[in-house]
Amino acid sequence: MLQRLKYARIFISGCVLIIVILAFLGMPGFIPNRFFVNFLTFLQFIPSSLKFFSVLSFAAFGFIIVFILSLLFGRIYCSLICPLGIFQDVLSRIGKRFRKRKIFRYSKPHNYLRYGILLITVLSLFTGSIFLLNLLDPYSNFGKIWSGLFRPVVISGNDILAHITEKAGIYWLYPVGLKALFWQSLIFPFLFFITVLIMSVGKGRLFCNTICPVGSFLALVSKTSIFKIKISENNCTHCGKCSVVCKASCIDIKIKSVDFSRCVGCFNCIHSCPESAINYKISFLKISSNKNIEPAKELSFKNNSGNEIINKNDESLITEKIQVDRRNFLGRILFFAAGSGFIYNKISAARIIPGNKSGKYNIKRNYPVTPPGSYSIENFNKHCTACHLCVSICPTQVLQPSFLQYGITGFLQPYMDFTHSFCNYECTKCSEICPTNSIIKLTVEKKKAVQPGKVIFVKKNCVVYADETACGACSEHCPTKAVHMMHYKGTLTIPEINQSICVGCGACEYACPAKPFKAIFVDGNPMHLTAFSSKDKKVKASTIEDFPF
């Protein structure tokens, strides 16, 4: 019965991977129902726990489910729910063709490394920055890879195909068009992908058991799991079939032991065993018994002294290492704090409009604009894991990954890029999809009352002022008429702004044709403000009774 668990795992993980990939590819028409996407991101450990601790609400208890699942069955999260984990399985499977050695083999755990990274990551959170967490979170990095690297490839492929089919008069495919692609923001996802690719093709789940902080945390949890995969002493024939299919390299067949802290719950071993000797077993004893005594007990049964030495060494070395790490990394954390403070200062000191030779003014934002629903830049930077799900989903592609626009603390977090697009007035998709608490869900009505940034008009750059010809592109695109045209000269009209009703959508900035510098732009509000609504009176009903010509 349990031998079929592998198929259940493949089925579930396949569905998860497909849904999450489709969401991150963001191809209009192929984005899965929000319900599925939200459910899967709800279960993602880091986003869910960040949301939980920021709103202190049990509405974000996804990570508790994962925690309980791990307490019961070990790290099945890594094989069933974590998209990066499943993705590595796929890479590893494909990579098998190019690998000399087609099988896996037991290797010793890299405990210093994995628990060290976990410790540093946890400690780094006390600086108030989730920078390090963002660099290592498996879900968010999966997102960055698919949104940043694969999405452009798929969209370009679609567009080429669309042009071919359209020549034949078929219009069911259409070019989506990439609005912007900043190579700087792709460096990190690319390096991360290469690392994961090499590690997974060569050594299965090595990444999950050395670098991933979620993996390491769940490893600690799974040490106390109620059900554990164990080799039954009596039935095992030492054939080693389980060990060679173990992508976590955690089955040491020589001593018939499974390092359950590294087991990712793929159930390949259970499936492979001809004697049904390896399986889930209840481990109540382990939970209640003393850790130091327990392995010794087993040992006396096994009559194998080598095992005990390894275990003991591990335990003592970890505690030693932790002490050393603590000292080492306190210094680093201070460095981080100082660095982030420095960069924050630099942003605030930026000038809006330095002069320019051409008589026109260069424009520079004081603050980048965060999406509506993020409430403040600080809130956004604190909670966004930069998974780029909103970037993929955004129908106008106004949301783009930043590079260092927010400083190091907001590394790669999305911002509103008005040079290539603008935020749709009626759209709240990013707030509906965000798995952390960085973009809080908004209704359309509420969104229309939020001001993430406000419009600034630079008259000297304006076509109407400089050339005395009609334009009005900014006002044309403005959904609230925070930019409207006032009588200027003759039949000419010139923009006039009303910041109090501006929703900071950036449509004016996007539409402005002025060169070399835009005449109108949106500067971010570090704290989002209220956009007041201005209600125009109903126009007079038409009074023409007959043709006026």
Binding site: E166, A470, P513, D536
Partner: protein, 312 residues
Amino acid sequence: MKRREFLTKSIGAGIAAGAGLAMVNFDNIGASEKLSYINSNLGEYDLTAVMGGEPAEMFDKAIAALGGMGRYVKKNQKVVVKPNIGWDASPERAANTNPFLVKRIIEHCIQAGAKEVVVFDYTCDNWQLCYSNSGIEKAVKDAGGKIAPGNSESYYHPVVVPKGKVLKEAKEHELILGADVFINVPILKNHEGATLTISMKNLMGIVWDRRFWHRNDLQQCIADFATYRKPTLNVVDAYRVMKQNGPKGKTVNDVTTMKYLIMSEDMVAADAAAAKLFGMDPKSVDHIRIAAEMGAGRMDLDKLKINRIKIS
């Protein structure tokens, strides 16, 4: 490369069209001759104006008065209908052409034997949202037409505007370049930059670099382009009219229901009449005045022959 591709493509289309014509049987030709005879009687008007009906109903009357759509659309021809679908707004807000009108025009084209009727616009807001929320995508599909995207530069091919003063070249959508019949279906609206947006301004939705127009004397560029591209027919939707905050508008408060429709082969005449409906002197709308001066059409409404149809 693209231009060459396009040229070969359009030559191919031309040959196909020629072959199609050659194969038309004689009965049909007789019929169309008859039709054109009737048309020449009815069609001496420069402009047709209808008031007091529903959008589709008013178009029915107007096109019937001209002897039916067969006057413009011949068998197996490719028709492009270009409404204004610029904004993500519901039909009630009158930011986009009335979907019922678009639907009826397509139905008439198909009835007249059009090979295909394609609808597109280079929208300002996100195009998928514009197409669906304007109700036009559904209207087109219901009527049996095709809706095509216009928001990718690859569709646009360079053209020369010989009489243009400022706008000497532009990039125009390949559907327009490959069409036999081009029906321009603007909606009459207030426009804070261009004063009004009607037929001529609606053609900004068939060219790529609109920022150039805005940067280099918008009103002149609109008139320049009108000297080059002349739609087969212009149908101005003035059923609901946006009187303020145009061209996007904020709410239904910007809109008043007027129930007019204007139809003309002359864009300038159509726009001049529509300006009058709006309550403005056509001369005070710069692009109408300039276009008339440049000879793109006529704005002297009192000298035009106007067919006035009232539905009560």
